[in-house]
């Protein structure tokens, strides 16, 4: 027995000596293109998914995952955008084709990404709207232009691995634990002074709540608001918030900010009503008219925040007009998911146009990363893509909406400018309209 243990120990030691870890560097495979002409005439291009007639792209969305995430409508947004571009003759004489619509099923994102890269012969990956983004490393290593929904921390790059080919719908930097001055701004304009913070005890939710707390540490004095109640220990799936609401009532909370899913936000709304607590909610993920159709009265006077121009914006920017027109023309459902697909397609096409007729994947990536004032025809506030992968910009912008009579009403600083922008790193609540 002892000799067996000894042999095993020697084996393990040898193994340790013989083994090392594979580096994470991968090979980038992009086809080389010739020339640098950016005219609209067709030039022979040697790149995956590109023929004389079409440019093929493909995406992965969580569609049937029983654990959650129903993001298949993002494909509709891409289809609608491509229909618009193709109706005008396509790009460089080629039609844009959404050639594959993959479902990553039960968290099978990595394999589906692998399939997309190896089986589908696509030039770019879009949309990538997934509950979990386990295929991100593979996409980074391949260098393929990738466009999707920044709801996973994997979109964000670091100084060592900047992930320059991953493009979220409104920037790729997702700083969950950072301060968010827009919340302090909402507290200020809604005349709320005592803030309650609720979150699940899962890392993303907790970090997000810490960001809210930090916000009021920095801007609280100026907004005349402070966090008086915080509970980041809620279990996922909680249905009863009566104790938390009771304590918030005792603390005089008049605004609640949460990092939780719809179930908990609705449970909170019902409990606030039951205990007659006059508090509004800040809904970072609640911009959905269908949601208000069901639960709108629970959120009367509450605020939502979007990174894009809301559908209620007047006058509508060109990008929004096009989106609404082409979603109707292609029978797609108007909503955040399809808009993400639309924005992904818009950025992709913008990159293609900027890369010129003899484009390749690397050129498209580089071209996008040179954009310093991208706004998707007014659908987004200005994005500086030279800076959006691995660090936060100097401002954060978005649209503020208030719920009135179960409908969203934009709250703007200046007429015709849907976005409110907040300076970061100054410690002062500075707002500008965009």
């Amino acid at each position: 027995m002892r000799s067996r243990i000894l042999v095993s120990a020697i084996f393990v030691s040898l193994l340790a000596a013989a083994c090392s870890n594979s580096s994470s560097e991968g090979t980038t495979t992009t086809s080389a293109a010739k020339g640098g002409d950016s005219s609209a005439t067709q030039v022979a291009v040697t790149a995956p998914g590109v023929t004389a007639d079409e440019i093929r792209v493909g995406g992965v969305a969580s569609t049937t995952n029983p654990l959650g995430g129903k993001y298949g409508e993002s494909f509709d947004g891409v289809q609608a955008y491509f229909a618009m571009v193709n109706s005008e003759g396509g790009i460089y004489g080629r039609d844009l084709t959404l050639a594959s619509e993959r479902d990553d099923q039960l968290s099978n994102n990595d394999a589906e990404v692998q399939g997309l890269l190896e089986q589908d012969n696509v030039f770019a990956a879009l949309p990538m709207t997934t509950l979990l983004f386990t295929g991100s490393d593979r996409l980074v290593q391949s260098g393929i232009p990738t466009f999707g929904w920044t709801i996973n921390p994997e979109w964000q790059g670091t100084t060592e691995v900047p992930k320059l080919n991953l493009f979220g719908q409104a920037g790729s930097y997702l700083c969950l634990g950072c301060e968010q001055p827009q919340v302090a701004y909402v507290a200020k304009i809604s005349d709320s002074h005592k803030i309650g913070v609720l979150a699940y005890n899962v890392p993303q939710s907790t970090e997000c709540a810490e960001g809210w707390e930090k916000t009021f540490d920095i801007y609280g004095e100026e907004a005349d608001a402070e966090v008086v109640f915080s509970d980041k220990s809620l279990s996922y799936g909680i249905t009863d918030l009566s104790v938390q609401v009771s304590k918030m009532k005792d603390a005089g909370v008049d605004m609640v900010v949460t990092c939780m899913d719809t179930n908990a936000v609705v449970a909170l709304g019902k409990e606030l009503k039951k205990q007659a607590v006059e508090a509004i909610q800040f809904l970072p993920n609640g911009y959905d008219q269908a949601f208000l159709d069901e639960f709108g009265d629970l959120f009367e006077g509450s605020y939502a925040w979007t990174s894009f121009a809301p559908f209620e914006t007047t006058p509508q920017p060109k990008g929004l007009k096009n989106y609404l027109k082409w979603m109707e023309a292609t029978d797609g459902r108007i909503g955040e998911n399809s808009l993400v697909g639309w924005l992904n397609a818009d950025l992709f096409v913008t990159g293609l146009q900027k890369a010129g007729p003899n484009f390749d994947q690397q050129k498209v990536v580089s071209s996008i990363n040179e954009l310093t004032d991208y706004n998707a025809d007014g659908l987004l506030s200005s994005i500086d893509w030279s800076n959006e992968h691995n660090k936060r910009g100097e401002t954060t912008c978005g649209a503020v909406l208030i719920v009135k009579d179960s409908e969203f009403v934009p709250v703007t600083i200046a007429k015709g400018k849907p976005f409110s922008c907040f300076a970061l790193n100054t410690g002062v609540l500075t707002t500008t309209a965009q």
Partner: protein
């Protein structure tokens, strides 16, 4: 003190929700002997029907509720009893629980195929309002109840009183319990066991329907996972009642609801204690009750006195077949494995290769179930958690120390084995359902308490785990990784075979066959079971590290949630808990089946796109098939696989192998007899 009382009172409505679910589970167990995890799926079915009738079709409340609870609920129960559970009346709790796991997986997917998988927002309450908060009572009070809470409290009280009366004072209640204990003995006493069993299932299923309709409005949309999450939170109450007492279960559930509320109110928010204790409270209570409640340890299942007249299980194929067939079979196995590897190496593209590798790696984890359940006879629902422990340890060791990932995997396996041993020491003293529940409680505690900690899981961004480099071979190449994974699988499979054939395996087999006889000759069940549990945990931990290395990150949500672990268990046990082939088959099918079905179901759409002039009837027919059926149909098939456990407790792979071997043996015997006969005819006559 006043505050504590206030918090406790606030916990009562939640306690009633727990009670409704827990009492339903106890009712099913009392009347059918099945610890029915599919209760949540049955509840979801009635809730979905109620949603469609009440909200989408705008039927009156009474008729919607009547159809969903009184018609659909019992009809589903009747169907399950006729098709499945009547064949399981004499089976052990393991067989029944595995079958219920299969139903838990399959039923929601079947319902979604009928009613659509789109989100069913704002489930309607069982009251004349659109939403529960539209009717509040008493208005202006400190403790206001909404329509959902009032209907739940009233229904729970009625159900508890009704069921208590049924079991304590009526003949039917007595007969129901008698049929569960021994249907044959009950029949000898003039009880129509079939009819009583049907009535039991209809009643318990109606109870599930009622629970589903009442509980669904707690959520913003109707989702089977939410109902199951609530059900597992209520499990502790069922143990308070010892799986038999309705009143005790009720009080246990109320107590649990109150304790949750008191802790939420009294513990300092965001303290280490609050963050650790509150989310995992129901599972901590469940685990503590199972371990420390004295009655449960000695509460072995009541055996059917007439069970001895049942024929024994078929002898394992590996034992029954002749030596030449074993050698041939193993040769075929080796050749098939090499052939599979060659095909994967040369013919598969990256996607299919990734599917195969994932399957091979999962097969390693499945082998842990072969050890703990197949050899050890213990249904562990914690193998996914143990695999996650291995994955996290691997990731943390690599990140913190820079050690080679292969060494880190071995450390991960050792840590998982140590955790398995610590878990095994108290758990192996339990039997059947209780043991399964204790392991489930462990998995849930791990998920709710430890996984959120960044020093365990790495925080919001999963920790990276590199691929190994062994000498000149960089396993970053998927083909090399496949060979490595196959080698690991082979080595571990051989080790498992050694264990099965060795002293521990034989001891465990003896204990499973006859615990009393085994004890009388000095075989210690506890020690052998702890060894099996520890070994299985180590294998799961190694598999977890391997999976993390292949995926590049130790991602709990992507690979190891307890719900996914339940699917693994159903799959491997229905394929054959004792069989190595079954573990390999299950691991590969878990990934291969959905991917293959996706291609199959995508074909009609692709065909129609390529043939836009196809006749209208063909367009209509093929247009019915949707690519997004792949995962639901896979889950339905996985679930149906578990149903076969009733007929083939040895597993479907083992059963098929057995019948093939029997047929082959018969054929060789016939052939031999024929040859003998012909040789005797052809033999030259010897003259006298």
């Amino acid at each position: 003190m006043v505050d504590l009382l206030e918090y406790a009172v606030r916990g009562i409505p939640t306690g009633c929700v727990f009670a409704l679910l827990a009492v339903g589970l106890v009712l099913t167990y009392k009347t059918s002997g099945v610890f029915n995890l599919a209760f949540a799926a049955q509840a979801y079915t009635s809730a979905a029907v109620f949603y469609v009738l009440r909200k989408e079709q705008e039927w009156p409340l009474f008729w919607s509720a009547f159809i969903a609870i009184v018609i659909v609920g019992p009809a589903l129960g009747l169907l399950l009893e006729r098709v499945l559970f009547r064949h399981l009346r004499g089976a052990g709790s393991l067989a029944k629980m595995v079958t219920s796991l299969g139903l838990l997986i399959a039923i929601p997917e079947v319902v979604k195929l009928f009613f659509g998988s789109d989100a069913k927002s704002n489930p309607p309450p069982l009251w004349y309002v659109r939403r529960t908060d539209e009717w509040l009572w008493p208005q202006g009070s400190k403790f206001v109840l909404d329509a959902g809470q009032v209907t739940t409290i009233v229904s729970t009280l009625v159900v508890v009183v009704g069921l208590t009366v049924l079991f304590r004072y009526t003949n039917l209640g007595l007969r129901m319990r008698a049929v569960v204990e021994s249907p044959r003995l009950a029949e000898l006493n003039g009880v129509n066991a079939e009819r009583v069993s049907m009535a039991s299932w209809m009643l318990s299923s109606m109870m599930a329907g009622l629970a589903g309709v009442l509980v669904a409005p707690l959520f913003a949309s109707l989702n089977p996972i939410d109902l199951f999450t609530l059900l597992v939170a209520a499990l502790a109450a069922t143990v308070v009642g010892g799986l038999s007492s309705i009143p005790l279960t009720f009080f246990g559930a109320i107590g649990l609801g109150m304790l949750q509320a008191v802790l939420a109110g009294s513990l300092p928010t965001n303290s280490v204690l609050a963050t650790g204790l509150r989310p995992g409270l129901p599972f901590l209570v469940l685990f503590a009750l199972l371990i420390f409640r004295p009655g449960l340890r000695s509460n072995s299942e009541t055996a059917d006195p007439l069970a001895t007249v049942d024929p024994p299980l078929p002898v394992p194929v590996a034992v029954s077949r002749p030596r030449w067939m074993s050698i041939s079979s193993r040769t075929v196995g080796v050749v098939a494995t090499i052939f599979g590897l060659l095909v994967s190496w040369f013919l598969l593209d990256g996607f299919w290769l990734a599917i195969v590798i994932s399957g091979v790696v999962l097969a390693v984890i499945m082998l842990s179930l072969t050890v703990v359940t197949g050899i050890g006879g213990m249904l562990s629902l914690a193998q996914a958690a143990l695999a996650a422990i291995g994955a996290f340890t691997t990731a943390q060791v690599v990140t913190a120390t820079g050690l080679p990932v292969l060494v880190a995997m071995l450390i991960g396996a050792a840590v998982a084995a140590a955790c398995g041993a610590l878990l095994a020491i108290p758990v192996v003293r339990l039997d059947g359902v209780y043991l399964a529940l204790a392991t489930l409680a462990f998995a849930l505690m791990f998920e709710s308490i430890l996984v959120p900690l960044s020093w365990v899981s790495g925080g919001s961004v999963p920790l990276a785990v590199p691929r190994p480099v062994i000498g000149p071979w960089d396993l970053a190449d998927d083909r090399y990784f496949l060979l490595f994974a196959a080698l690991c699988l082979t080595v571990i499979a051989l080790a498992v075979i050694r264990v099965r054939q060795g002293t521990t395996g034989r001891f465990l087999q003896a204990i499973q066959s006859s615990p009393t006889a085994a004890n009388s000759i000095g075989i210690s069940g506890g020690r052998s079971r702890i060894i099996a549990f520890t070994l299985a945990a180590g294998i799961a931990g190694f598999g977890g590290g391997l999976l993390a290395s292949f995926a590049g990150r130790a991602n709990y949500q992507a690979s190891f949630p307890y719900v996914v672990g339940l699917v693994w268990v159903a799959l491997v046990i229905s394929a054959g808990a004792r069989s190595i082939q079954a573990a390999v088959f299950s691991g590969i099918m878990f990934f291969l089946l959905p991917a293959t079905l996706n291609r199959v179901f995508s074909w009609p759409e692709n065909y129609l796109e390529a043939h836009q002039q196809a006749p209208e009837w063909m367009q209509n027919l093929l247009g019915l098939v949707q690519p997004n059926w792949a995962l639901p149909v896979s889950f339905i098939l996985f679930g149906i696989g578990a149903f076969t456990y009733a007929k083939h407790p040895e597993g479907i792979i083992e059963a098929r192998t057995n019948s093939s071997v029997t047929a082959l043996l018969r054929w060789t015997e016939r052939r031999k007899a024929k040859v003998d006969a012909s040789s005797s005819v052809d033999a030259p006559q010897v003259s006298a």
